[in-house]
Symmetry: C2
Subunit: 352 residues, 2 copies
DNA sequence: CTGAAAGCGCTAACAC
DNA sequence: GTGTTAGCGCTTTCAG
């Protein structure tokens, strides 16, 4: 393997000093345009690219950020990753990715990270708050994707969970539903708490009571959605509509509802959250609250760069809008016009 | 921000030279165990971690690999990423990720990459063959995830597409189908060609002819699957079963078939490929050929490390097994026992 | 076994 | 404008 060109090679060949080469490449204004041209030409001839490690060592920065994501990576994380990658690429930065895996590692791991990267992006709550505090003490810039941690305020970018869920619930109310349940995610998810709040607000505003048995805690997964819907269906007076805190659970709910021989959306309307890629591909096409995943990644990068540039600034907590994507599982766009009446029909599960 | 500890700090405090510190950390056998202990203790006290850039500069290696993936990243890529990340983590390597984006960039981009990484993993055919050749000339190790490129032989890890498709087709034959179509991916996908071959072989072995109108070229996307199925249904004598080259197209096909009022799987059996996460969550649950995504990523890392370690070795082209995941869209597990007869029923589309 | 010293390739004061 | 030079933090001969 032929050794790569270095500043020295280039300098020599261009008949200048290495400083001039470095200056030229840095775009310094104080280089005679003739010299510049000569250098640039040699650079091109030799296909010279500055050695990143050397540059980093001298510069004391890495031009690299890390993206750390939790182990349970749902289908939509890839959109966020893509957003991050794209946005950093524009700035000529690199992205290192890390899964959190075993906690054991992350302590050691984070320490080692320090001089590997200029900043971090955490996906969801992929990290304990203590670490966040530690990072702040080290002056290592980071931004959270998700609601910011109460104990360790920082930059963050999240979506308008409250409004999204509120709108979804309102939509169900608009369809005439009065018995609306919700399947939430794990109670330690801050996103979920906000979604729950949105749901509650909508129902309260409509003057409806919220029987506790209509608030079921799920786990963000398909099976959890199934189980939750089964619980709902077995109640004495089951709901006629349910809001799920993510699309996977909504899909699970759909599947369970089918087993109870419920017609969707006539007997049971369902709205999800996220708008994952397959949401529109299932039957019935899922009405859901869209989160701008890719945008989330891009925005996180933006905030991170601002923070890297100017450490002192006040924290920014960006909230990206969500909006309802209306498909058929809510009762809209139904061809057969019987949706309005059938909702009141009996809900006795078939299998009991 | 307190400056981080360096070899010098540690050396001084431990009363040894920097060389000894370096040796200790490198695990060199020729360090008196007493000295070693002293050094290690100081290292611990100071929370010392060698500066990666400095180490890289001295070492001339980066302990980093890059994963480059194409722009059209389907839902399953995240599993591959996870596999890669996990496997590299074990070796204490880092993973940089890059999307290919605009071709324009990738030329410049690849050159710059050289000293950033020790090796590359390419997802699918995310890169032109010329670049692969160029990389080989530079002695930059890389492995392909997907069938190896004919013009630039290299390490690769792919799945047994042929056998997977073959098995799927056989399964359909076993169900009694004789009129089996296939929706392939873009013709430039080597994976797809192999799948097509598997399908053809199974049908030939069964003594069936292959009318060209039953081989439809799709685009790996949902809409492509829809379009293809519509084409199929509009034929004079439509197939009774179809094989799709990936799950998204299978889902599109299902949706289109429904519009033609076909009952699934009774009137139309469908088998997909990939086994993406949602395959089991749709209606009917999709029978499909499983690709071990995560394993694919892990294996790629394994091959890459071998290559990095010993450059001279012959190319390895690993092929991971696929297998049929039987759910309901093929006609299995159907509760109502009428599947065998209804298949011959008329296929006149409802909407014509 | 241990230390001194020469790089690794680049940047940025500092002179001229 | 341009060159000289001193680091950046670590690894690795080469002596001892």
């Amino acid at each position: 393997m032929k050794k790569n060109a270095t500043v020295y090679t280039v300098a020599e060949r261009a008949g200048v000093s290495i400083a001039t080469v470095s200056r030229t490449l840095a775009g310094s204004p104080k280089v005679a345009s003739l010299t510049r041209q000569r250098v640039l030409q040699v650079v091109d001839e030799l296909n010279y690219v500055p050695h990143p490690a050397a540059r980093r060592l001298a510069h004391q920065r890495t031009d690299t950020i890390a993206l750390v994501f939790p182990d349970i990576s749902g289908p939509y994380y890839s959109s966020v990753i893509r957003g991050v990658e794209q946005a950093t690429g524009v700035h000529d930065y690199n992205v290192l990715i890390y899964g959190t895996r075993d906690k054991a590692r992350s302590d050691q791991f984070l320490r080692g990270l320090t001089s590997k990267i200029d900043g971090l992006i955490f996906l969801a709550r992929s990290i304990e708050e203590d670490y966040l505090a530690w990072l702040q003490k080290q002056d290592i810039p980071f931004v959270l994707i998700g609601p910011s941690a109460p104990l360790a305020p920082s930059d963050s970018v999240s979506v308008d969970n409250l409004h999204g869920a509120y709108q979804a619930a309102r939509h169900l109310l608009w369809h005439g539903h009065r018995r609306i349940a919700i399947i939430t995610g794990p109670s330690n998810s801050p996103d979920c708490r906000q979604r729950l709040d949105g749901y509650k607000r909508a129902l309260r505003e409509a003057g409806l009571s919220l029987p506790p048995e209509w608030i079921i805690t799920g786990n963000f997964q398909y099976e959890g959605g199934r189980t939750a819907m089964v619980q709902l269906c077995q109640q004495d007076s089951p709901p006629t509509a349910v809001l799920a805190a993510n699309d996977e659970m909504a899909m699970g709910a759909i599947s369970a509802a089918r087993q109870y021989r419920l017609r969707l959306p006539e007997d049971m309307a369902i709205i999800g959250f996220d708008d994952i890629q397959v949401a529109g591909m299932i039957d019935p096409p899922l009405t859901t609250v869209l989160q701008p995943m890719q945008r989330l990644g891009e925005k996180a990068v933006e905030l991170l760069f601002q923070r890297i540039r100017t450490q002192g600034a006040p924290w920014q907590n960006e909230i990206l809008p969500t909006h309802l994507v209306v498909r058929r599982s809510c009762g809209c766009l139904t061809n057969q016009g019987l949706s309005q009446k059938s909702r009141v029909s009996a809900l006795t599960p078939f299998s009991r």
